[in-house]
């Protein structure tokens, strides 16, 4: 398979519901995912992430544009695409009357794996998602996060060449989320490719080699977490509680983000001592931290919202 795992060109999607107005969910999305990459799709609610994932996973027909998975068109050659992929649907739930062990095993069997392979891979996935303790309880008795872990276990157990995960860690505790990250890293090391969505920007930063930010059905920016963070205008954030009265002075150091009585200033490391000196002189405390991807996201998407508003 010499082809790109995923290649999308100018994908548009118009939903035409039976009642109500038409909705332009995707307005010309182009993107690519290379072999062995983990790519995250970020964007506000309703930006079009799920719509794109469903199109790429052969579950939804685009209105126009081209999407190829390993060189096969997702519309005309869906039968060739489907064996290569696996999907964690947004808001999907396991069969309530199966145990996690049964869910994972029977799913792998229905995908055509032999008993031994299904058993083997299933057990590993259950262990990786730390489901061992609840693996023989009916899913209906599991907590929300345990159900979600079952869905993720089911899909990572496939080791499919291309995995789509729509908010895979929603509702999971921090330990479980890190378990998912590790499993996804293992999968790409073994040759799989991953496209996921998430609203947790720390997760996107920890996990994704590359990010796409979508807004209103368009790709706003594409890049690594580091390049996106450059959009913020500095690499460090200085937070000065009760610093509101210094806003004008602080503005000379970099972009100021007011937050009630607190002020955040985005600065380059070179000007750090200077700005801390001012805080000390004014008898204020100040904390310094790295700029987060969340700040970059707010900046990039916020700017787009402002532009849209005129």
């Amino acid at each position: 398979m010499p082809n790109e795992p995923l290649l999308a060109e100018d994908v548009r999607k118009v939903y035409a519901p039976r009642r109500g107005p038409r909705i332009d969910a995707l307005n010309g999305v182009s993107m690519s995912v290379h072999r062995g990459e983990r790519v995250a799709l970020l964007g506000r609610n309703g930006a079009g992430k799920t719509t794109f994932l469903k199109i790429a996973a052969t579950l939804l027909a685009p209105t126009s544009g081209r999407v190829e998975v390993f060189g096969h068109d997702v519309g005309r050659a869906a039968d060739l695409v489907r064996p290569e992929i696996a999907v964690v649907p947004q808001e999907g739930k396991p069969f309530f009357h199966l145990t996690p062990r049964e869910q994972v095993y029977t799913y792998l069997r229905s995908r055509g794996m032999s008993r031994e392979v299904a058993h083997d891979r299933g057990e590993r996935a259950l262990a990786a998602m730390e489901l061992a303790e609840v693996a023989d309880r009916l899913a209906i008795t599991l907590s929300g996060g345990q159900k979600q872990r079952t869905m993720v276990a089911t899909v990572i157990a496939t080791g499919a060449p291309l995995l789509f995960l729509d908010e895979p860690t929603i509702g999971m505790d921090p330990f479980a989320r890190r378990g998912v990250w590790q499993s996804l890293r293992d999968l790409t090391r073994e040759g799989s490719t991953i496209l996921l969505t998430t609203h947790y920007l720390d997760e996107a930063e920890a996990l994704a080699d590359r990010l796409y930010i979508v807004e209103r059905g368009r790709v706003l920016v594409e890049g690594t977490a580091a390049t996106l963070k450059q959009e913020v205008g500095g690499t460090l954030r200085v937070t000065v509680p009760q610093g509101a009265r210094l806003t004008e002075t602080l503005r000379t150091f970099g972009r100021v983000v007011p937050d009630g009585d607190t002020v955040h200033v985005i600065v380059d490391p070179g000007r750090l001592t200077e700005i801390l000196g001012i805080a000390v002189r004014e008898r204020l405390t100040a904390t310094v931290g790295p700029v987060t991807l969340e700040e970059a996201f707010l900046r990039v998407v916020g700017r787009s919202i402002d532009d849209e508003a005129g």
């Binding site: 999907v87 739930k93 029977t106 799913y107 229905s110 995908r111």
Partner: protein, 257 residues
């Protein structure tokens, strides 16, 4: 973790590969609802009691009718099940974006539900045999008709299931369907009691056509040869024609528009 270099593909009969594994999944899911399997017989038992009280001489016919009705309602469960899996669990996405083809997905649900709900139907067949002492030919005819009526109802159920976006509306439609196909036409009662002018209608609806063929096999001469052809043709075309349409529809609806 070891992993295949490429996606796993079904080798044997690829379009229907995985049907049995998925049907086993469904079967397992259904067996947790054992009470529902018994309550699936309520309508049949109630109607049989009515017939036994009101017209005992038709009890044998009603027994055969109850089996046909069971085949229909067994297939129709696919409507509810497929909609539930898709609307409430989104598991259609898990299974359709996989080597399991859409037609194997449809058939897997249908077969799994069929196997789960089959035992009480077998019980009815045993009772019918004890009461009617019907010959092997009738038994074979019965088996064939049960499968055909089931396939018809399962196909119709799957197609309809794709039209629903929430579960609330489904039960009223389900009850409309089984009353229209299974209770109103002459399934539980003799074809002769159905208005003569509407006889072709009864012979075109698969459940009453199947019941008429069974009544005819117990009482040869009930149907004229062209009527036999009409009823047999109706059952056959409805079952296999609709099945083929459903295979097409399963493929088409796997990719929403």
């Amino acid at each position: 973790m070891m992993r295949p270099a490429e996606g796993v593909r079904h080798r044997w009969l690829p379009r229907f590969g995985g049907v049995l594994a998925f049907a086993a999944t469904e079967l397992r899911v259904q067996l947790h609802e054992a009470l529902a399997i018994f309550t699936s017989m309520v309508v049949q038992v109630v109607l049989l009691v009515f017939v036994a009280i009101l017209a005992p001489s038709y009890f044998g016919i009603a027994l055969l009718g109850a089996i046909v009705f069971s085949a229909f309602s067994l297939g129709q469960r696919v409507l509810n099940e497929a909609a539930y899996i898709r609307v409430d669990h989104k598991l259609n996405e898990l299974y359709l974006a996989s080597p399991l083809t859409p037609e194997a997905y449809f058939l897997g649900i249908a077969v799994g539900v069929f196997l789960a709900y089959l035992p009480p139907v077998v019980g009815l067949v045993v009772i019918a045999e004890a009461v009617l002492r019907f010959p092997v030919v009738t038994a074979l005819l019965l088996a064939g008709l049960v499968l055909a009526v089931w396939l018809f109802a399962a196909s119709m159920g799957y197609i309809l299931s794709t039209a629903f976006h929430d579960m609330r509306a489904i039960w009223s439609y389900a009850s409309l369907l089984y009353n229209l196909f299974g209770v109103l036409p002459p399934v539980f009662y003799p074809l002769g009691l159905w208005p003569a002018g509407l006889r072709p209608v009864a012979l075109l609806l698969p459940p009453s056509a199947a019941a008429a063929l069974l009544q005819n096999s117990l009482d040869p001469g009930l149907l004229a040869p062209p009527e036999i052809a009409l009823a047999a043709g109706a059952v056959g075309v409805a079952a296999f024609g609709l099945f083929l349409i459903t295979v097409y529809w399963a493929r088409r609806s796997a990719q929403e528009r």
